[in-house]
Subunit: 363 residues, 2 copies
């Protein structure tokens, strides 16, 4: 098997780099006695979920009920970190087999009502963590009083079980040092929340947080018990640019073929928006939509759906038509979502297929 | 069947609007005696491809060999408008059944060499159109002399058959009037190309062009024989904003559920980047990543992977959690690509499933 046999564009995972990333994060969580509950939206792979559980993850995080129905093959402890609304979604959640512990993260009374009705309909307990807004202003209750009211509502409605609180500091886009004001504000916010819930008679057993830019500082947030990082498994150009990983920690690339060099100063590859997504780098400078693994100075400067225009102005390299390149995407979760199958690459040359439902197989 | 039974986010096509869009484009092509060869990258659906053929399309256009293997179920005359490089892709192209006429559009000698080798390997004729750069600077030969040299190379290498020339005026982002300088330059460029090829003893039987913003002006480009529009089947927010269709011609929406109204001035829906793509409007002003079909003043102002933040500042409407909305995406081709199945909606209420490989079925 060689790269030449693959029909590009095709997503590849360097299995050795991924294993190192998984080890490093689990070691960090163990060192600081944090429960690691990786977010599976990044990989959507039963194989990778099992690798995370094998290393000691406490359970897995999902964004949708559909992801939960897949990840029940990897773990018997699942969190859907999303307010679930609507019969179809809730019925799918409760289609997960009975011995899987379920938790839902939510921020409003309507979602509690609907979850309660579904839990009764399916005669099944479900844990709830109430999400408060830690400053991102996306979802999450802005007022702690309102969040506490929701927690009381959960506790008053078995088979719902109040199990704690959650937050997502997605507004902090750059990795922070211990001294940064944004981390200090977050610490204050979390500590205030823990105190308020405790004083209200609702001491949170779980305090769930974490995001990629803040992940290595999680232990400095007093009270936090659980982290839910996702991207660390593969990393991507954004994670590297903001300094939350090294370039060599990028496990995921899109293998692409140079298909045209007709226009001067550029080479066109067959990976465009439909392969790479159109995700800008955030929290750091960085033009373009991806960069070559072996030549990070060469970026995908423009894209059409099936065309990626490599900017050759920063390099002497002049590729020929037919040459293969590996692109590190800006945001890997989106690229996973664009593919049904991901190829895992071992060294020197065998490869293994990850897919959403099957075990990996060597090809 | 009602919308409430669907698990959102889910893509919907208004079948009546789509039928009207298909009729209008075919009528335009017929009126001006242009061959219509719709680009199927927009819909990727055998069902829709058949609807296009039924109305009189000359054949279908694909972006990849994989699309060709699907579209052979809808048409026996396929163009892959992309330089095909690499064994895997070429072998897939020639896996299309023998009675399907194949054409490939390309812009370089390496692609000709590889196509020739594959055609010999599979003992099968294939037509070639040579793409010249009409000003977009993406692919396409910049110099007509070089383009003519490629055409000679094709003609000298049966079973390759030189069948004409092609261009894609993707640099023209706004609809043009007959008087616009950009259209005048394009007319000049095409007429120059036809003349040069003819003088070189290679009169092009096919002159293939067209893009969405220029589509209704195609008949004013002297010499053009074939158009390859894609987006017109569904249209999208960009097409409407640039004036190439009316808002009521938008057939494609993403049905989504309001999942949180915790943060003031916004409502969060369950359609984010993984459902809508992150495609800006180009060629016209317009913020955000999509707009509500029934309330175009409400836009998706920000997105995460599974969150779309509706900006409520321009409306008095205050949705409740659980309410359904229909989002017209900025760029519909990307949204098709994000889904395996699309629901077709008839009025009043039945729906039909389109998928990439199966016939539609009513659910």
């Amino acid at each position: 098997m060689s790269f030449e046999q693959l029909e590009t564009p095709v997503p590849l995972v360097d299995v050795d780099v991924m294993a190192r990333n998984l080890d490093t994060m689990q070691a960090y969580a163990d060192q600081h006695q944090l429960q690691l509950r990786p977010h599976t939206k990044t990989h959507k792979s039963v194989h990778v979920g099992r690798e995370q559980m094998r290393r000691g993850a406490a359970g897995l995080t999902c964004a949708t009920p559909h992801e939960a129905t897949v990840m029940q093959q990897a773990s018997d402890d699942l969190l859907v970190a999303y307010p679930l609304v609507g019969h179809a979604k809730l019925d799918r959640l409760f289609s997960v087999r009975d011995d899987v512990a379920l938790r839902v993260q939510l921020d409003n009374a309507e979602a509690i009502d609907q979850l309660y009705a579904a839990a009764v309909r399916h005669d099944r307990a479900v844990a709830v963590t109430v999400e408060f807004d830690a400053g991102m202003h996306r979802v999450g209750v802005p007022s702690l009083d309102d969040a506490i009211a929701l927690a009381h509502m959960v506790r008053a409605n078995p088979p719902l079980e109040f199990s704690g609180i959650a937050f997502y500091p997605g507004h902090i886009r750059e990795p922070v040092t211990s001294q940064d004001a944004s981390l200090e504000r977050l610490r204050h916010k979390v500590s205030e929340a823990v105190q308020a819930f405790t004083e209200a008679g609702l001491p949170p057993a779980i305090v769930s947080g974490g995001s990629t830019p803040t992940m290595w500082r999680s232990h400095e947030i007093t009270g936090i018990t659980e982290i839910r990082p996702g991207t660390y498994v593969y990393n991507d150009r954004t994670t590297a640019e903001i300094g939350a990983c090294k370039w060599d920690d990028c496990a995921f690339t899109v293998l692409a073929t140079v298909v045209s060099t007709s226009v001067k100063g550029q080479a066109v590859i067959d990976a465009g928006t439909k392969s790479l997504g159109r995700e800008p780098i955030r929290g750091a400078s960085g033009e373009g939509w991806g960069a070559l693994l072996d030549r990070p100075e060469v970026i995908v400067a423009r894209m059409s759906e099936e065309h990626g225009m490599l900017d050759l102005t920063a390099t002497d390299w002049r590729p020929r038509v037919g040459e293969l390149v590996r692109v590190v995407p800006n945001h890997v979760c989106i690229v996973t979502h664009l593919n049904d199958v991901i190829f895992g690459v071992f060294h020197p040359c065998a490869s293994v297929v990850f897919s959403r439902s099957a075990d990996p197989r060597v090809v």
